[in-house]
């Protein structure tokens, strides 16, 4: 049963240099309780996808298409109605804990307001609940921390506060945009454990945006790969990791160095991601693709779903070990 249904989502930005398409015709579903990772490089459109769903695009951005939460259409939903869902049933944790908290308000203020708003708690009850949430995200010394201002906390602590805020109303969907990128590795591991526990205990669906495949392997059930605003491959994590169907996915997997193979030479994907204002013709990936065919330059491949539930957008149907593999 899908809790979130995205159909033909497009996000366009009007800029001085013209129209920029950040998200190009994306469709996907999220089931209850599952963890889905959206993977891609910077500029691939992964953040804009979720921002569009929550009505958080910048002023010059416009989303078209459909994003349905439990059947309710979110795109162009009037703010008043959207606010009943945001922070309540769908929450988001942002990438940069340094700037995502209001430096002028105490942690307590920033946590209590969600509780009083969505769960109708009294201030004192909310205060205690907030401390309980901070404990739940394993923030040490919660009673002290809650009286502080954000600049008095470390990055890891701030991120936990953000997660605590996001979980306060027991959302059905939690969106985490690169939640661990700004943190160091040990903290990262703890975060992931935290997420895993939460999804298990509360049945929360988790949308995890990341460019770190290690994170994906750690907790995601399914994954989607985006490139230049387009969805290029979707499927279970196992399927994509062991038998990727798109050259980009393949490239990503193989550019990650392996811990147990220190002698291995790094094999990055040649070239740079395209500028969204100047996309290549046909398939956006073709200039960097080791497996490209003639038609890749002329036609853009469409995402096709196969019988086993996997989808990919590529004309090349062969094996990846044939070309370019060491």
């Amino acid at each position: 049963m899908s809790i979130l249904e995205v159909k033909n989502l497009n996000v366009n930005f009007t800029t001085l240099s013209g129209n920029v398409k950040a998200v190009d015709n994306i469709s996907f579903d999220i089931a209850k309780g599952e963890t889905v990772a959206i993977v891609g490089e910077s500029g691939s459109g992964k953040s804009q996808t979720v921002l569009a769903a929550l009505g958080l695009l910048a002023e010059n951005g416009k989303a078209t298409g459909s994003v349905k939460f439990e059947g309710q259409e979110l795109i162009d939903l009037p703010t008043k109605k959207l606010n009943k869902i945001r922070g309540n049933h769908i929450s988001m944790v942002f990438q940069d804990p340094m700037t995502s908290l209001n430096p002028f308000l105490r942690i307590s203020d920033q946590m209590i307001e969600v509780l009083t708003l969505h769960r109708g708690m009294s201030k004192s009850k909310a205060f205690n609940e907030a401390i309980r949430m901070l404990d739940a995200v394993r923030l040490p010394d919660a009673k002290q921390v809650i009286t502080r201002f954000p600049h008095e906390l470390s990055g890891g602590m701030r991120q936990r506060v953000m997660i605590a805020i996001a979980l306060s109303c027991q959302p059905k969907v939690l969106i985490a945009d690169e939640p661990t990128t700004a943190l160091d590795v040990t903290v990262q591991a703890q975060m992931l454990e935290l997420f895993k526990g939460l999804t298990k205990d509360f049945g929360t669906s988790l949308i995890l945006i990341t460019h770190d495949l290690g994170v994906v392997a750690g907790i995601a059930d399914r994954m989607m790969v985006m490139y230049a605003g387009r969805l290029v491959e979707k499927g279970s994590v196992d399927d994509l990791f062991y038998s990727p169907a798109h050259p980009y996915t393949y490239g990503l997997l193989h550019s990650t160095p392996h811990v147990d193979n220190p002698e291995q030479r790094l094999s990055p994907i040649a070239g740079l991601p395209p500028s969204l204002e100047n996309l290549p013709s046909g398939c956006a990936f073709h200039p960097r693709c080791a497996f490209k065919l003639d038609r890749c330059q002329k036609e853009a491949p469409v995402l096709k779903t196969s019988a086993d539930g996997r989808s990919n957008a590529c004309f090349y149907k062969g094996d990846f070990s044939e070309v370019g593999e060491e």
């Binding site: 002023e59 945001r86 209001n102 307001e113």
Partner: protein, 307 residues
Amino acid sequence: MFKFILKRLGVAIPTLLILIIFSFALMKLAPGGPFTSEKPLPPQVLANIEAKYGLDQPNYKQLTNYIVGIVTKGDFGPSFRYKDRSVNDIIAQGFPITLKYGIWSFILAVLVGVTLGIIAAVKHNSWIDYTAVGFSISAQVLPNFVMAPILVIIFTLWLNLLPGGGWNGGQWQYLVMPVIALATSYMASIARITRSSMLEVLNSNFIRTAKAKGLPNRVIIFKHALKPALLPVITYLGPTFVAMITGSVVIDMYFSTGGIGQMFVNAALNRDYSVIMGITILMGVLTVLFNLMVDVLYAWIDPKIRY
């Protein structure tokens, strides 16, 4: 916080001393003394007068006496031009007037400016925004000496609603035009700063978080955005205050309100040095105090600055 204030005072006091010394030095450097522009006096009489005013003493002694007088008794000495009046008398006559319309102007400029700026920012790119920006730009070429006659043309000449000048004890009809004339250009620049600051804050990450929490717009603006947005505005209030003080000179001259600005210009033209110095120092003290208040306000709002 107390330490903060103390620190600030530590800078303020040398500033004032420098101001006093500088004004004093200027007086002494000026060609001619306070009594030489009248018909030439016989030397003996001149010497007597100078002795009476303590002008025969060495300069440094005059300076220290002067400073001591101010600090211990608040006494700025006698007027050099009006034999029976002290500087304090003159100041006491003009200061309340300037204070009255000055405060009203300041309040008007801040209230209208900030409100306009916030509305323009919240309704970005709407007709309200464009009007507000248009007004800000226009008002910046309407300094007080331009606004004043324009207001008089409209309200006195054409509409015959308000008196063209005078003070009459500060009745509201005599207050309206001076207050508006003085406030207008600052209203505009405060609106501009508020708007751009608010726009920047509204685009910040933490406001995005606030929206993601499902908070209503009102809460976002007043609880989350207002404080950070107002900080640059508060910083700007210091120079605004100084500018208004100097602007009051024009208001006094044009509307003949009789405030401290007018006293100053008269003293300047009459070479009444003690009055000139007294008023300058008074204005300096006010400026320093005001800047101190602004600094404290800023520190109070911004939790990152805590002394």
